[in-house]
């Protein structure tokens, strides 16, 4: 057992080291705004992102005796995770400062969560996947509970924790069955054994079922979605924003690693199960979102619907489909982040702007913010020329080409239902009377970053080619 190719782990090692440094710096600084800790955390993410770029080769390389893999997919996803988390921490700090609940641990926990995500993305071993997942999840549980005096946040945290623990348990159980069947924890070896054997499938499929439950829970697919609305609504908006963005990329990577890399030979089985989950998710998410009056909760259901759409890419069961799903998840993370950031921006100390009514007449209060929100909502609804449209197009194209026409039609039908509640927000902003006349207060940096976030959906939507070809490259043999 030799330590080879350790340089592949450079981003993770740097992140871990700097995260510990952040913890130290924050403890010994007396800044009430936790400036040093925050800036060091941002620097950490930036350094990690640069290191990801530097170590990116596009080929599959293995390290730590095959427990760790660095390939085209991991490169792109890690970079996206770092950049998105960079934005997320920025928004978070604005929120925490505004609501006066800023704590240094928040940034440290955030960094550890990012580390967990990177490990998940690069995992080439069932245990590495689990390790990354737990590191991420435990950090997130703590982040949800960061506002200790809020009873809704505490409730959300305990729900998230208990349900998450059950799901992790199931995943672990699935992993142990797979190990029992194949005698290996390494994903490639698992696939190889399953490929060659004809006796094992029955038991392996049980392993698959439990693994799938774990993955579905993390992604928030129906019927393992129950935690999502409660946590999204109950958690401080900054945390919701964090949970709703980068971790979805990691969950997607986990799905690819486990289902495609490890359980690829069982494709016909998980394809059917995912199909059910995808349709249920799109149906439930879109239908229920309509009845919500709380926009955080509405976005939670919309997340569930988006996850359903994303799973469709996996259902397609080929490289194009996976690339489509990857494009979708990155797009989703950008949109979701923008949506929650808007809620943060409109809120004031002690009063979150999380009701739909808070958006009434926004066009009159601030035409620019209303326009940004319009971009976000149209993009989520999948209307061109915004990025969200290309994501839907990409996935639909692959699904239809893979021959699942009826499921694509269902997806379209539910997307139509979904369009209704996104458009309702736009209608509220542009056609209803504002509840308060004054322009929303926000700092210039927040406004600028949110503008960048929103406009990126338009600009990437006008030239989606680069991101698309990167996603395609991640899965081309």
């Amino acid at each position: 057992m030799s330590i080879d190719n350790l340089s592949l782990l450079l981003p993770e090692i740097a992140l871990l080291t700097l995260a510990c440094a952040t913890l130290m710096v924050d403890i010994f600084s007396n800044d009430p705004k936790h400036g040093p800790g925050y800036w060091l955390a941002q620097l950490t993410l930036l350094v990690t992102a640069v290191l990801v770029l530097v170590t990116y080769t596009g080929d599959s390389q293995y390290a730590m005796a095959g427990m760790f893999v660095s390939d085209a997919m991991s490169g792109l996803l890690k970079f996206a995770i770092c950049i998105i988390s960079l934005f997320a921490l920025f928004y978070s700090r604005e929120y925490l400062l505004r609501h006066d609940i800023i704590k240094g641990e928040y940034f440290v926990l955030g960094l550890f969560a990012v580390l967990g995500m990177l490990v998940m993305v690069s995992a080439n071993n069932l245990l590495t996947v689990y390790l990354g997942l737990e590191l991420l999840s435990l950090s997130l549980y703590a982040m949800v509970a960061i506002h200790r005096d809020s009873s809704s946040a505490s409730e959300a945290a305990i729900k998230y924790f208990v349900l998450g623990a059950i799901a992790s348990g199931m995943l672990l159980y699935g992993i142990s069955i797979l190990y029992g069947v194949t005698g290996s924890l390494e994903l490639g070896a698992v696939a190889q054994v399953l490929e060659g054997q004809s006796d094992y499938p029955t038991l392996a499929i049980f392993g698959l079922v439990f693994v799938l439950i774990g993955v579905a829970f993390k992604l928030g697919a129906v019927p393992f979605h129950m935690w999502l609305p409660d946590v999204y609504q109950g958690a401080p908006t900054a945390v919701t924003l964090f949970i709703g963005s980068a971790p979805k990329l990691a969950a997607f990577a986990m799905a690819i690693r486990l289902l495609v890399d490890g359980l690829g030979p069982l494709l016909p089985d998980w394809q059917q199960m995912l199909m059910i989950l995808a349709v249920l998710s799109m149906a439930t998410g879109n239908l229920i979102a309509i009845a919500q009056t709380n926009i955080k909760r509405m976005l939670a259901y919309s997340t569930i619907a988006h996850i359903g759409f994303l799973l469709l890419g996996l259902v397609a069961g080929n490289a194009g489909g996976y690339a489509g799903a990857m494009f979708y998840v990155i797009t989703y993370a950008l949109m979701s982040m923008g949506g929650f950031a808007m809620i943060i921006l409109l809120g004031r100390k002690g009063a979150e702007a999380d009701q739909l009514d808070d958006f009434s007449g926004l066009a009159e209060r601030s035409p620019w913010l209303a326009f940004l929100m319009l971009i976000l909502m149209f993009s989520m609804a999948g209307i061109p020329p915004f990025l969200g449209f290309w994501a839907k197009w990409f996935v639909l194209r692959e699904v239809i080409q893979a021959g699942f026409v009826w499921i694509a039609l269902l997806a379209v039908a539910f997307a139509i239902v979904g369009a209704f509640y996104y458009l309702r927000v736009v209608k509220l902003m542009y056609f209803d009377e504002p509840r308060e006349p004054d322009e929303p207060q926000c700092s210039t940096p927040l406004r600028t970053v949110l503008s960048v976030n929103g406009l990126s959906l338009l600009l990437l939507g006008l030239s989606p080619g680069l991101l698309m070809s990167l996603c395609m490259a991640a899965f081309s043999p």
């Binding site: 057992m1 510990c20 913890l23 924050d26 403890i27 240094g104 305990i158 729900k159 208990v162 349900l163 199931m170 190990y179 029992g180 005698g183 094992y200 029955t202 038991l203 499929i205 049980f206 079922v209 439990f210 799938l212 439950i213 829970f217 019927p223 393992f224 129950m226 609305p229 409660d230 089985d269 439930t284 239908l287 229920i288 309509i290 009845a291 919500q292 609804a381 209307i383 061109p384 020329p385 449209f389 639909l396 194209r397 239809i400 026409v405 694509a408 039609l409 379209v412 139509i416 369009a419 458009l423 736009v426 209608k427 542009y430 056609f431 209803d432 989606p464 080619g465 698309m468 070809s469």
Partner: protein
């Protein structure tokens, strides 16, 4: 070409600024762009003569089949000319109509973006870029419709209109992707040449339904027609533009465009023919009922859209010629009429036709223009509308299979539209002058330029039918039909059935006009129809969706974690149990299990612990019993010679119990909150899940055991670790990193503890 399409977007970005700079003259100056585009498109006419098509290619997202390629032929050019030509007058007109309006700059911006998007729709050769432009028209038209947003009506209908068109758009997207899959290309120019392949596609019907759902919603066909009159809340220049040349015609354009590829089948004929005919009838029926001048025109637009759809559906040579002639005629007179209606609204301050009268002396130019345009609407000679209507009758009379239905509906519609035309031209201008909210006088030149020119064109084209034919209709017909057709347009065809039908329509129509007040009274008694209208259907569906959502929230997503747990566990049971059943049938591959006495005792202990804990009434007792289960598991580890695991388990268990006790000590008294029924349900779920796990474990036992890792460690320890004491080698070599990690973790934990202590101190201070 790229610049021609995108120039509108560019101007849209700077239009607000230009408007402020130019002040009152803005309308005239900004209109230069559409005028220039009009001239530019005119210059393309020779290139498309005889049905030739030109493809202009720009790559957008290379490698993914998405290009900004443009298809220029008679059909796209006809639309491009209408969009830019009428657009010119609309821009001039809005300068006068919205004079001094605070949002005028923004209005121009959106208007230009809308115009550019429309040009993109009709010129795109790539179906994906076509779709992108298609949806852009929805977004911009939404902003246009909602422009007048102080109006309550505007708010309600904005959401409705957009939702209907966006829903249609998404369906269209699916249809287009299927189309591309069937035809093997994303380029229209290639798809249209593979009509036979497309018609033989196994999912042809499904594809057609999706595409038609898109075009029907866009072009306000029954039963989606309800959003169009509601869009009337928009300022008039918008209505004129939307309803004459543009947005609603986008659907018509697409159907005409796809005719060579998808048309000619029974599905195409019946769907388009019948839906079109019903729409035509509904539109004219509702038009006659309205008293609001704009609503009247909006419903007559629906009638025209229905007619066009019907003609495209019939698809014979005569029908295609009629469709394109009718399209041109309609665009000319409808734009003129809408602008005139806007003039009436602007000058008198009311839209209700019952409140207007005797305006001919005050607004003579408007009156004459209205008469000319209305003659074309009514389909009377010598206007171009007459030629179009004759052609329509000709086409319906010879339609395959549905001739009777279409002809009867066409004649009835023609009667009603005759009456509507007479009402519009005569009612506001003749008779006694009536009191209106504003003192009326003639509209300003900017608001008259458009109607006068367009009405004049209706007349010129009617008298000299060869002009539009040679100019554009000939090549447009070739594009829709798929091959060039020879035809000429004359006012006088000799005495034939279409002429007789026209005569019948005119006479009856005038009778209806004379007795309109009585007709209105009859209509008033028919209001119950509204209760069954599609608008009600839309509201019902929306209400039902909300109800479903609320029901789900109440039953499933009710905030109780135990319900969530039940769902997760039951789904796991269903998934695993289902798989188990499918793969193994009823035979359970149980391995043979030898249970020793000690194992049985420990298992009994664990089971007893689990049962007791669920019956326990005190928290402390429950914690202690859970501990019993944990220690039982530790004993099992001991039995299977894994002392290190057993030790860990015992430590963790002890610690957990202590921590739990410490926490519970501070909690309030234990309350039993669940009812007996709930407890029985929970017990069942638990048994089910536990039972499934047991079965699974028994099944796992049957599997051949993989070689244990210890063999490998033994093999490695001497060769790679160079040590004979395996335990030592494991600890210092194999797990060296582990040990480093553990040290690290302990260090980190120490920092964490320090942070917590500090926090506590801070809390105390504050």
């Amino acid at each position: 070409m790229l610049l021609a399409v995108l120039s509108g977007f560019i101007l849209a970005a700077c239009a607000p600024w230009l408007t402020r700079l130019l002040g009152d003259r803005a309308g005239w100056v900004l209109a230069l762009l559409p005028a220039a585009l009009f001239v530019y498109f005119l210059s393309w006419i020779p290139l498309t003569a005889g049905g030739a098509a030109e493809v202009v290619h720009y790559s957008w997202i290379p490698g993914l089949d998405i290009n900004l390629s443009f298809l220029v032929d008679g059909l796209s050019l006809l639309f491009a000319l209408l969009i830019s030509g009428i657009g010119t007058f609309i821009i001039i007109y809005s300068g006068g109509y919205l004079h001094g309006h605070e949002y005028l700059p923004r209005f121009y911006g959106i208007m230009f973006a809308f115009m550019a998007a429309m040009l993109g729709v009709v010129l795109s050769n790539n179906i994906i870029s076509l779709f992108v432009f298609w949806e852009l028209t929805s977004i911009t038209s939404y902003l246009l419709i909602g422009f007048n947003h102080e109006d309550k009506q505007a708010r309600w209908c904005a959401l409705q209109g957009l939702f209907v068109t966006v829903a249609g758009g998404l369906a269209l997207l699916a249809g287009l992707i299927m189309l591309a899959g069937a035809g093997g290309s994303f380029e229209l120019s290639e798809l249209l040449n593979s009509g036979d392949v497309l018609r033989d596609y196994p999912l042809y019907t499904g594809m057609l339904i999706l595409i038609l759902f898109g075009t029907f919603t866009k072009s306000a066909q029954v039963p989606f027609h309800f959003w169009l009159p509601n869009a009337m809340a928009a300022p008039t220049p918008v209505s004129a533009y939307l309803h004459s040349a543009t947005m609603v015609k986008a659907g018509i354009y697409l159907m005409a465009r796809l005719n060579p590829g998808l048309g000619g089948t029974d599905q195409w004929l019946y769907t388009l023919g019948l839906f079109g005919a019903v729409t035509m009838f509904t539109g004219s029926f509702m038009a006659l009922r309205s008293t609001d001048v704009k609503a009247m025109l909006a419903y007559s637009t629906i009638m025209a859209l229905g007619t066009l759809t019907m003609l495209i559906g019939i698809g014979t040579e005569a029908a295609i010629i009629a469709a394109l002639a009718f399209l041109l005629a309609h665009a000319l007179y409808k734009a003129a009429l809408f602008m005139l209606a806007g003039g009436l609204d602007h000058e008198t301050g009311t839209k209700n036709i019952l409140n207007m009268g005797g305006l001919r002396r005050l607004m003579p130019v408007s009156f004459i223009t209205a008469c000319v345009a209305a003659l074309s609407l009514a389909g009377l000679p010598p206007l171009f509308g007459f030629i179009a209507k004759e052609l329509m009758f000709e086409a319906t009379l010879h339609a395959p299979a549905i001739a009777t239905v279409t002809t009867v509906l066409a004649v009835i519609s023609a009667i009603m539209i005759m009456a509507v035309a007479a009402l519009f031209a005569l009612r506001p201008y003749t008779g006694k002058l009536k009191e209106t909210p504003k003192q009326p006088h003639e509209a300003p030149p900017s608001m008259l330029a458009g109607p006068v020119v367009l009405a004049a064109l209706s007349l010129v084209f009617g008298v000299a039918g060869f002009l539009p034919v040679q100019g554009i209709l000939h090549s447009a017909v070739a594009a829709v039909h798929g091959s060039p057709l020879e035809f000429k347009l004359y006012l006088w065809h000799g005495v034939n059935t279409p002429l007789l039908l026209s005569l019948l329509a005119v006479v009856t129509g005038l009778l209806v006009f004379a007795g309109w007040d009585r007709v209105l009274a009859v209509y008033r008694r028919l209001t119950f129809i509204d209760r069954f209208g599609p608008e009600r259907g839309y509201e019902r569906v929306m209400a039902a969706l909300v109800w479903v959502a609320e029901w789900q929230t109440r039953v499933l997503q009710n905030g109780y974690m135990r319900n969530y747990l039940i769902t997760i566990l039951l789904t796991a049971v269903a998934l695993a149990g289902g798989t188990f059943f499918i793969y193994t049938g009823n035979t359970v591959p149980f391995g043979t299990v030898d249970i020793t006495f000690y194992e049985a005792v420990i298992a009994a202990l664990i089971i007893a612990g689990a049962i007791v804990v669920s019956l326990m009434q005190s928290r402390l007792g429950a914690v202690a019993t859970v501990g019993m289960v944990g220690f039982g598991v530790a004993l099992i580890y001991v039995l299977f010679s894994a002392p290190d695991l057993a030790i860990t388990q015992i430590m963790v268990e002890t610690l957990t119990v202590i921590l739990l006790v410490l926490v519970l000590y501070r909690l309030p008294r234990f309350l039993n909150l669940s009812s007996t029924a709930a407890r029985i349900r929970d017990a069942l779920v638990a048994l089910l899940f536990g039972g499934m796990m047991t079965v699974l474990i028994l099944a796992v036992l049957d599997v051949e055991v993989v070689a244990p890792i210890s063999d490998q460690l033994v093999a490695w320890s001497y060769d790679e670790g160079h040590g004979r004491n395996i335990v030592n080698v494991i600890l210092v070599d194999f797990r060296a990193l582990d040990t480093l990690g553990e040290i690290f973790v302990v260090g980190l934990a120490a920092i964490g503890v320090y942070a917590m202590i500090r926090l506590r101190a801070e809390d105390k201070r504050s």
